[in-house]
Symmetry: C2
Subunit: 270 residues, 2 copies
């Protein structure tokens, strides 16, 4: 059973990591992160890798969450506050009333992550995805279609940012992912482990719908504007999603869903 | 050439429709709407149906937008303000610096909209989509894949809400759509005009990837939680998108992109 600790002062030092959540998000939290909402909290509590450090709950939510909080280790404090104190702590009206501070496990290196994938495998490679909504949406889609891992280049934003976790419905906490360094040659790395690299591009050589799934496949996605580097496109199999005249692009998270559906469903597997 | 009118007082009555934009959005604007950003402004100025009433621009943006503003009728005022005055008017920092007030054309009725579609046609029917991001994202996808029209039930939110227009990249202003009344029987209406109605549901009878496109087809989408009504599912062809175990659903806008890709691309047409 967790300890319930009543907080009545928004300046209480015990809940300092929750103060002014948005401003602190911008500064960064080293190896900690904030999880919001019931589904994400449940994911964190069940995680075998990341650790809950503390919870901060609206007093009205405590009873309803007991099935989750009862799974916490005894030493994890559960801070409880009124809605008004809670809003004062975080700096805005937090209508879900459920926050947790988590400690993230060390990330694997890309080489080790790919080395651990056997046989039939599906990887998503993200380059320059700097919008947390899009990053979270892509993790959600990758989980939905059973992707095995995600690689992020150095320009991608942080999957442990609060909003990215929330939009991913907790999947940034569960789906294995690794960060490429600026010097990594991701195409060579994918080749080393036998992956066929498929790049999405408006001028891709093949229509996505024609694509048959290679057993080991990596889908590469870039930003909506500039897209993937020409050097990457030149070394990979390029596919396009044809669009109506005058429409310039799809949202990159939507694109990821279409690509993953094509790779996992449209070739006869279920 | 439009008239440029300098605004120095955020309380100037001429720019009242732009004051406290978010609060006014919540109240509603009758048959007016706010368009934001360059792409949406261009869409509005080119629209054959909706009319620009006025523009409000950051003084730094005026020169760069002359190709667009020169297309305006002489009587459309272009209000110009400094960034500080602009932020004071709208009530938050508006970094794009481009706003327009538009007047919306009367919406067609669903029967007339469907009656005007000939031959091969693709319609999207939305039921209970109350989130503006999702609604805007669906319009964006529908435009990208060349859908001919969208029908919205009485529970859907307003496609002319500022954020829905922005997320749709202006496509809520261009893609023909009509609002169903609570008494309308949309399945009967689709049948009347020869459409095959395809409902997305986690328990759908067929896999989406097996679906061959009927020449006249309507894709029905409900909310992520409760989904489409059982009464609608019972009268339509139901399809599912199989997902990895333990993952409950895709975002509805992403789902629309996957469905529209399947219907327009995966059956051999381009």
């Amino acid at each position: 059973m967790p300890q319930l600790i009543r907080i009545t002062d928004p300046a209480d030092p015990r809940i300092a990591p929750y103060c002014a959540v948005r401003e602190r998000d911008l500064v960064g939290r080293d190896d900690h992160f904030i999880a919001e909402g019931e589904v994400v909290l449940q994911t964190l509590v069940q995680s075998e890798r990341h650790q809950p450090v503390s919870l901060l709950l609206d007093e009205k939510r405590v009873d309803g969450l007991s099935a989750i909080t009862n799974r916490l280790a005894d030493e994890v404090p559960v801070y409880v506050a009124s809605q008004a104190v809670l809003d004062g702590i975080v700096g805005f009206h937090i209508h879900r009333g459920i926050l947790a501070l988590g400690h993230r496990a060390p990330a694997p290196v890309p080489d080790a992550l790919l080395a651990g994938l056997e046989g039939r495998a599906l990887v998503v490679v993200l380059m320059g995805i700097s919008n947390h909504d899009n990053l979270g949406g892509i993790f959600r889609n990758a989980a939905a279609f059973g992707a095995d891992a995600i690689l992020l280049d150095a320009q991608c934003c942080d999957p442990f940012y609060r909003k990215a976790i929330r939009v991913s419905v907790g999947n940034t906490l569960t789906l294995p992912h690794a960060r490429l360094s600026p010097d990594d040659d991701v195409v060579a790395l994918l080749e080393k482990y036998g992956f066929t690299a498929v790049s999405l591009s408006p001028n891709g050589e093949y229509r996505l719908a024609e694509l048959k799934r290679p057993p080991r496949v990596a889908a590469l996605l870039g930003t909506e504007g500039p897209g993937l580097d020409a050097a990457v496109l030149a070394r990979t199999l390029t596919v396009r999603i044809p669009m109506a005249p005058g429409v310039d692009s799809l949202n990159v998270a939507t694109t990821s869903g279409i690509v993953l559906h094509q790779l996992t469903q449209a070739t006869g597997d279920e």
